[in-house]
Symmetry: C2
Subunit: 152 residues, 2 copies
DNA sequence: ATTGACGTTGACGTTAACGTCAATATAATA
DNA sequence: TATTATATTGACGTTAACGTCAACGTCAAT
Protein backbone atom coordinates (compact mmCIF):
# COMPACT_ATOMS: atom_id res chain seq x y z
CA UNK A 1 0.00 0.00 0.00
CA UNK A 2 1.96 3.02 -1.25
CA UNK A 3 2.05 6.11 0.90
CA UNK A 4 0.84 9.28 -0.74
CA UNK A 5 3.38 11.35 1.10
CA UNK A 6 6.06 9.33 -0.63
CA UNK A 7 4.99 10.45 -4.07
CA UNK A 8 4.87 14.10 -3.17
CA UNK A 9 7.01 16.50 -5.12
CA UNK A 10 10.53 17.00 -3.82
CA UNK A 11 9.71 20.51 -2.82
CA UNK A 12 7.14 19.23 -0.37
CA UNK A 13 7.45 17.20 2.76
CA UNK A 14 9.43 14.05 3.21
CA UNK A 15 7.98 11.96 5.99
CA UNK A 16 9.39 8.79 7.54
CA UNK A 17 12.58 10.59 8.41
CA UNK A 18 15.29 8.38 9.84
CA UNK A 19 17.54 9.28 12.74
CA UNK A 20 19.66 12.14 11.46
CA UNK A 21 22.89 10.89 12.95
CA UNK A 22 22.60 7.25 11.86
CA UNK A 23 21.86 8.08 8.26
CA UNK A 24 24.21 10.29 6.29
CA UNK A 25 21.71 13.17 6.21
CA UNK A 26 22.89 16.68 6.82
CA UNK A 27 21.77 18.32 10.06
CA UNK A 28 21.63 21.93 11.25
CA UNK A 29 21.89 23.82 14.51
CA UNK A 30 19.31 26.44 15.33
CA UNK A 31 21.64 29.33 14.61
CA UNK A 32 22.68 27.84 11.29
CA UNK A 33 19.06 27.81 10.22
CA UNK A 34 18.54 31.29 11.60
CA UNK A 35 21.46 32.60 9.58
CA UNK A 36 20.52 30.79 6.38
CA UNK A 37 16.91 32.01 6.41
CA UNK A 38 17.68 35.36 7.98
CA UNK A 39 15.32 34.99 10.93
CA UNK A 40 15.91 34.86 14.69
CA UNK A 41 16.31 31.74 16.77
CA UNK A 42 13.36 32.99 18.78
CA UNK A 43 11.17 32.72 15.70
CA UNK A 44 12.32 29.16 15.04
CA UNK A 45 11.57 28.10 18.61
CA UNK A 46 8.23 29.82 18.34
CA UNK A 47 7.35 27.80 15.25
CA UNK A 48 8.17 24.69 17.22
CA UNK A 49 5.97 25.77 20.11
CA UNK A 50 3.18 26.17 17.58
CA UNK A 51 3.69 22.62 16.37
CA UNK A 52 5.14 23.51 12.98
CA UNK A 53 8.54 21.98 13.67
CA UNK A 54 9.65 19.08 15.83
CA UNK A 55 13.39 18.66 15.70
CA UNK A 56 15.31 15.90 17.42
CA UNK A 57 17.36 16.59 20.52
CA UNK A 58 21.01 16.03 21.10
CA UNK A 59 20.96 16.30 24.87
CA UNK A 60 19.18 19.57 25.48
CA UNK A 61 20.00 21.06 22.13
CA UNK A 62 17.84 20.98 19.05
CA UNK A 63 19.06 19.10 16.00
CA UNK A 64 17.36 19.93 12.73
CA UNK A 65 17.10 17.42 9.89
CA UNK A 66 16.61 17.99 6.17
CA UNK A 67 12.89 17.55 6.72
CA UNK A 68 12.91 20.36 9.28
CA UNK A 69 14.91 22.46 6.86
CA UNK A 70 12.31 21.90 4.18
CA UNK A 71 9.46 22.61 6.57
CA UNK A 72 11.02 25.88 7.62
CA UNK A 73 11.37 26.89 3.99
CA UNK A 74 7.69 26.10 3.49
CA UNK A 75 6.71 28.06 6.60
CA UNK A 76 8.49 31.14 5.29
CA UNK A 77 7.01 30.81 1.85
CA UNK A 78 3.58 30.42 3.38
CA UNK A 79 4.14 33.59 5.35
CA UNK A 80 5.21 35.47 2.24
CA UNK A 81 1.97 34.30 0.66
CA UNK A 82 0.03 35.84 3.53
CA UNK A 83 -0.95 32.65 5.34
CA UNK A 84 -1.10 32.64 9.12
CA UNK A 85 0.95 30.14 11.08
CA UNK A 86 -2.28 28.34 11.95
CA UNK A 87 -3.16 27.98 8.30
CA UNK A 88 0.32 26.74 7.53
CA UNK A 89 -0.12 24.21 10.29
CA UNK A 90 -3.40 23.09 8.73
CA UNK A 91 -1.69 22.51 5.41
CA UNK A 92 1.00 20.44 7.10
CA UNK A 93 -1.65 18.37 8.84
CA UNK A 94 -3.42 17.80 5.56
CA UNK A 95 -0.30 16.54 3.88
CA UNK A 96 0.44 14.32 6.82
CA UNK A 97 -3.08 13.00 7.24
CA UNK A 98 -3.29 12.14 3.55
CA UNK A 99 -0.66 9.50 4.20
CA UNK A 100 -3.16 7.44 6.22
CA UNK A 101 -4.84 6.58 2.94
CA UNK A 102 -8.31 7.42 4.18
CA UNK A 103 -10.66 8.31 1.38
CA UNK A 104 -12.64 10.83 3.37
CA UNK A 105 -9.45 12.66 4.26
CA UNK A 106 -8.46 12.75 0.63
CA UNK A 107 -11.55 14.59 -0.47
CA UNK A 108 -11.15 17.05 2.39
CA UNK A 109 -7.62 17.63 1.16
CA UNK A 110 -8.94 18.32 -2.31
CA UNK A 111 -11.42 20.80 -0.91
CA UNK A 112 -8.70 22.63 0.98
CA UNK A 113 -6.54 22.71 -2.11
CA UNK A 114 -9.36 24.20 -4.14
CA UNK A 115 -9.89 26.78 -1.42
CA UNK A 116 -6.24 27.79 -1.44
CA UNK A 117 -6.15 27.88 -5.21
CA UNK A 118 -9.06 30.28 -5.30
CA UNK A 119 -7.40 32.61 -2.82
CA UNK A 120 -4.12 32.43 -4.68
CA UNK A 121 -5.77 33.13 -8.01
CA UNK A 122 -7.50 36.14 -6.51
CA UNK A 123 -4.19 37.39 -5.17
CA UNK A 124 -2.59 36.77 -8.53
CA UNK A 125 -5.21 38.95 -10.19
CA UNK A 126 -4.76 41.64 -7.58
CA UNK A 127 -1.03 41.65 -8.05
CA UNK A 128 -1.15 41.71 -11.81
CA UNK A 129 -3.64 44.52 -11.73
CA UNK A 130 -1.49 46.47 -9.31
CA UNK A 131 1.61 45.87 -11.38
CA UNK A 132 -0.16 47.27 -14.41
CA UNK A 133 -1.29 50.29 -12.50
CA UNK A 134 2.16 50.87 -11.07
CA UNK A 135 3.70 50.64 -14.52
CA UNK A 136 1.20 53.12 -15.89
CA UNK A 137 1.89 55.46 -13.01
CA UNK A 138 5.61 55.13 -13.57
CA UNK A 139 5.20 55.86 -17.28
CA UNK A 140 3.36 59.07 -16.48
CA UNK A 141 5.98 60.09 -13.93
CA UNK A 142 8.73 59.68 -16.52
CA UNK A 143 6.77 61.57 -19.10
CA UNK A 144 6.29 64.40 -16.63
CA UNK A 145 10.03 64.44 -15.95
CA UNK A 146 10.75 64.79 -19.67
CA UNK A 147 8.32 67.69 -19.91
CA UNK A 148 10.01 69.46 -17.03
CA UNK A 149 13.40 69.06 -18.66
CA UNK A 150 12.28 70.24 -22.10
CA UNK A 151 10.80 73.35 -20.47
CA UNK A 152 14.21 74.09 -19.02
CA UNK B 1 1.03 73.64 -14.96
CA UNK B 2 -0.83 70.33 -15.20
CA UNK B 3 -1.23 68.31 -12.04
CA UNK B 4 0.10 64.78 -12.15
CA UNK B 5 -2.70 63.52 -10.03
CA UNK B 6 -5.06 64.64 -12.76
CA UNK B 7 -3.57 62.34 -15.32
CA UNK B 8 -3.66 59.30 -13.08
CA UNK B 9 -5.58 56.29 -14.29
CA UNK B 10 -9.25 56.18 -13.39
CA UNK B 11 -8.62 53.37 -10.99
CA UNK B 12 -6.41 55.63 -8.92
CA UNK B 13 -7.14 58.69 -6.89
CA UNK B 14 -9.01 61.74 -7.99
CA UNK B 15 -7.96 64.77 -6.01
CA UNK B 16 -9.45 68.26 -6.05
CA UNK B 17 -12.83 66.88 -5.11
CA UNK B 18 -15.60 69.44 -5.02
CA UNK B 19 -18.27 69.65 -2.38
CA UNK B 20 -20.23 66.43 -2.78
CA UNK B 21 -23.61 68.08 -2.42
CA UNK B 22 -23.02 71.00 -4.76
CA UNK B 23 -21.75 68.88 -7.61
CA UNK B 24 -23.84 66.01 -8.91
CA UNK B 25 -21.45 63.40 -7.49
CA UNK B 26 -22.80 60.35 -5.79
CA UNK B 27 -22.26 60.13 -2.03
CA UNK B 28 -22.44 57.27 0.46
CA UNK B 29 -23.28 56.77 4.11
CA UNK B 30 -20.95 54.75 6.29
CA UNK B 31 -23.26 51.74 6.38
CA UNK B 32 -23.70 51.81 2.61
CA UNK B 33 -19.96 51.51 2.20
CA UNK B 34 -19.80 48.85 4.89
CA UNK B 35 -22.44 46.78 3.11
CA UNK B 36 -20.97 47.23 -0.35
CA UNK B 37 -17.45 46.21 0.71
CA UNK B 38 -18.59 43.71 3.33
CA UNK B 39 -16.69 45.26 6.22
CA UNK B 40 -17.83 46.81 9.51
CA UNK B 41 -18.42 50.49 10.13
CA UNK B 42 -15.86 50.17 12.87
CA UNK B 43 -13.23 49.28 10.32
CA UNK B 44 -14.12 52.28 8.16
CA UNK B 45 -13.88 54.65 11.13
CA UNK B 46 -10.61 53.03 12.05
CA UNK B 47 -9.19 53.70 8.59
CA UNK B 48 -10.18 57.33 9.05
CA UNK B 49 -8.49 57.50 12.45
CA UNK B 50 -5.37 56.20 10.72
CA UNK B 51 -5.54 59.00 8.18
CA UNK B 52 -6.51 56.84 5.23
CA UNK B 53 -9.91 58.44 4.73
CA UNK B 54 -11.19 61.94 5.42
CA UNK B 55 -14.87 62.19 4.55
CA UNK B 56 -16.89 65.36 4.75
CA UNK B 57 -19.39 65.88 7.53
CA UNK B 58 -23.08 66.55 7.29
CA UNK B 59 -23.58 67.78 10.82
CA UNK B 60 -22.04 65.03 12.92
CA UNK B 61 -22.43 62.33 10.30
CA UNK B 62 -19.84 61.26 7.80
CA UNK B 63 -20.52 61.77 4.11
CA UNK B 64 -18.38 59.78 1.72
CA UNK B 65 -17.61 60.98 -1.80
CA UNK B 66 -16.57 59.03 -4.88
CA UNK B 67 -12.97 59.73 -3.98
CA UNK B 68 -13.48 58.14 -0.56
CA UNK B 69 -15.18 55.22 -2.26
CA UNK B 70 -12.17 54.74 -4.52
CA UNK B 71 -9.76 55.10 -1.62
CA UNK B 72 -11.60 52.45 0.36
CA UNK B 73 -11.42 50.10 -2.60
CA UNK B 74 -7.67 50.72 -2.78
CA UNK B 75 -7.27 50.15 0.96
CA UNK B 76 -8.93 46.76 0.69
CA UNK B 77 -6.93 45.77 -2.34
CA UNK B 78 -3.77 46.81 -0.55
CA UNK B 79 -4.73 44.66 2.38
CA UNK B 80 -5.38 41.68 0.12
CA UNK B 81 -1.90 42.21 -1.26
CA UNK B 82 -0.48 41.97 2.23
CA UNK B 83 0.34 45.64 2.78
CA UNK B 84 -0.09 47.11 6.24
CA UNK B 85 -2.33 50.11 6.73
CA UNK B 86 0.78 52.20 7.32
CA UNK B 87 2.23 51.13 3.99
CA UNK B 88 -1.05 51.88 2.28
CA UNK B 89 -0.94 55.31 3.87
CA UNK B 90 2.58 55.82 2.52
CA UNK B 91 1.41 55.03 -0.98
CA UNK B 92 -1.43 57.50 -0.66
CA UNK B 93 0.98 60.16 0.52
CA UNK B 94 3.24 59.48 -2.42
CA UNK B 95 0.43 59.90 -4.91
CA UNK B 96 -0.68 63.07 -3.19
CA UNK B 97 2.78 64.57 -2.80
CA UNK B 98 3.56 63.95 -6.46
CA UNK B 99 0.89 66.53 -7.26
CA UNK B 100 3.06 69.31 -5.84
CA UNK B 101 5.22 68.94 -8.94
CA UNK B 102 8.48 68.73 -7.01
CA UNK B 103 11.16 66.91 -8.90
CA UNK B 104 12.80 65.41 -5.86
CA UNK B 105 9.48 63.96 -4.78
CA UNK B 106 9.00 62.44 -8.19
CA UNK B 107 12.17 60.42 -8.06
CA UNK B 108 11.32 59.24 -4.58
CA UNK B 109 8.00 58.12 -5.94
CA UNK B 110 9.77 56.20 -8.67
CA UNK B 111 11.97 54.52 -6.08
CA UNK B 112 9.00 53.47 -4.03
CA UNK B 113 7.27 52.15 -7.10
CA UNK B 114 10.30 50.06 -7.99
CA UNK B 115 10.39 48.76 -4.43
CA UNK B 116 6.76 47.71 -4.57
CA UNK B 117 7.18 46.17 -7.98
CA UNK B 118 10.02 44.00 -6.72
CA UNK B 119 7.96 42.79 -3.79
CA UNK B 120 4.98 42.13 -6.01
CA UNK B 121 7.05 40.22 -8.53
CA UNK B 122 8.48 38.11 -5.74
CA UNK B 123 4.97 37.38 -4.50
CA UNK B 124 3.88 36.58 -8.01
CA UNK B 125 6.64 34.01 -8.30
CA UNK B 126 5.76 32.55 -4.92
CA UNK B 127 2.13 32.25 -5.87
CA UNK B 128 2.76 30.74 -9.26
CA UNK B 129 5.14 28.24 -7.72
CA UNK B 130 2.61 27.33 -5.08
CA UNK B 131 -0.16 27.01 -7.63
CA UNK B 132 1.97 24.59 -9.60
CA UNK B 133 2.72 22.57 -6.52
CA UNK B 134 -0.90 22.51 -5.48
CA UNK B 135 -1.96 21.34 -8.94
CA UNK B 136 0.64 18.59 -8.87
CA UNK B 137 -0.52 17.53 -5.43
CA UNK B 138 -4.12 17.54 -6.61
CA UNK B 139 -3.24 15.44 -9.64
CA UNK B 140 -1.65 12.83 -7.42
CA UNK B 141 -4.60 12.83 -5.07
CA UNK B 142 -6.97 12.17 -7.97
CA UNK B 143 -4.74 9.44 -9.34
CA UNK B 144 -4.72 7.82 -5.93
CA UNK B 145 -8.51 7.98 -5.81
CA UNK B 146 -8.73 6.21 -9.18
CA UNK B 147 -6.40 3.47 -7.93
CA UNK B 148 -8.53 2.93 -4.85
CA UNK B 149 -11.66 2.64 -6.96
CA UNK B 150 -10.14 0.22 -9.50
CA UNK B 151 -9.01 -1.99 -6.61
CA UNK B 152 -12.60 -2.17 -5.48
C1' DA C 1 -44.49 58.76 23.37
C1' DT C 2 -41.74 55.08 22.33
C1' DT C 3 -39.63 51.95 19.34
C1' DG C 4 -36.17 51.06 15.89
C1' DA C 5 -32.71 52.17 12.60
C1' DC C 6 -28.84 54.70 12.05
C1' DG C 7 -25.29 57.60 13.53
C1' DT C 8 -21.57 59.40 17.02
C1' DT C 9 -17.31 59.20 20.43
C1' DG C 10 -14.55 57.00 23.89
C1' DA C 11 -12.34 53.19 26.00
C1' DC C 12 -10.99 48.74 26.90
C1' DG C 13 -10.26 43.79 24.97
C1' DT C 14 -8.14 40.52 21.68
C1' DT C 15 -5.16 37.85 18.59
C1' DA C 16 -0.91 36.86 16.01
C1' DA C 17 3.83 36.71 15.73
C1' DC C 18 7.23 37.35 17.54
C1' DG C 19 10.89 40.78 20.60
C1' DT C 20 13.23 41.25 24.69
C1' DC C 21 14.91 40.39 28.66
C1' DA C 22 16.63 37.14 32.64
C1' DA C 23 18.74 33.28 34.57
C1' DT C 24 21.12 29.27 33.49
C1' DA C 25 24.00 25.43 31.20
C1' DT C 26 27.79 23.69 28.33
C1' DA C 27 31.75 23.47 25.30
C1' DA C 28 35.68 25.33 23.20
C1' DT C 29 39.22 28.69 23.37
C1' DA C 30 42.65 32.15 25.23
C1' DT D 1 40.69 29.67 34.94
C1' DA D 2 38.20 33.18 32.71
C1' DT D 3 36.09 34.47 28.63
C1' DT D 4 33.40 33.73 24.65
C1' DA D 5 30.00 31.53 21.88
C1' DT D 6 26.26 28.91 21.80
C1' DA D 7 22.50 26.82 23.65
C1' DT D 8 18.28 26.33 26.95
C1' DT D 9 13.57 27.66 29.36
C1' DG D 10 10.43 30.93 31.24
C1' DA D 11 7.98 35.18 31.38
C1' DC D 12 6.56 39.59 30.22
C1' DG D 13 6.21 43.29 26.45
C1' DT D 14 4.71 44.93 21.85
C1' DT D 15 2.30 46.09 17.52
C1' DA D 16 -1.47 45.88 14.15
C1' DA D 17 -6.10 45.79 13.09
C1' DC D 18 -9.76 45.80 14.43
C1' DG D 19 -13.96 43.75 17.98
C1' DT D 20 -16.88 44.86 21.51
C1' DC D 21 -19.06 47.17 24.60
C1' DA D 22 -21.14 51.63 26.70
C1' DA D 23 -23.47 55.82 26.58
C1' DC D 24 -25.53 58.95 23.83
C1' DG D 25 -27.93 61.85 19.68
C1' DT D 26 -31.46 62.05 15.77
C1' DC D 27 -35.00 61.14 12.90
C1' DA D 28 -39.03 58.51 10.94
C1' DA D 29 -42.67 55.41 11.80
C1' DT D 30 -46.03 53.23 14.78
Amino acid sequence: MPDISQVLSDTFLRTNALDPRESGNKTYSISQLAKEFDITTRAIRFYESEGLLSPEREGRNRLYSQRDHTRLKLILRGKRLGFSLDEIGELFELYDSSSTGELAQLSRVLEKIEERKQILKQQLEDIQLSLHELKEFERQCRQRLRQMRSNH
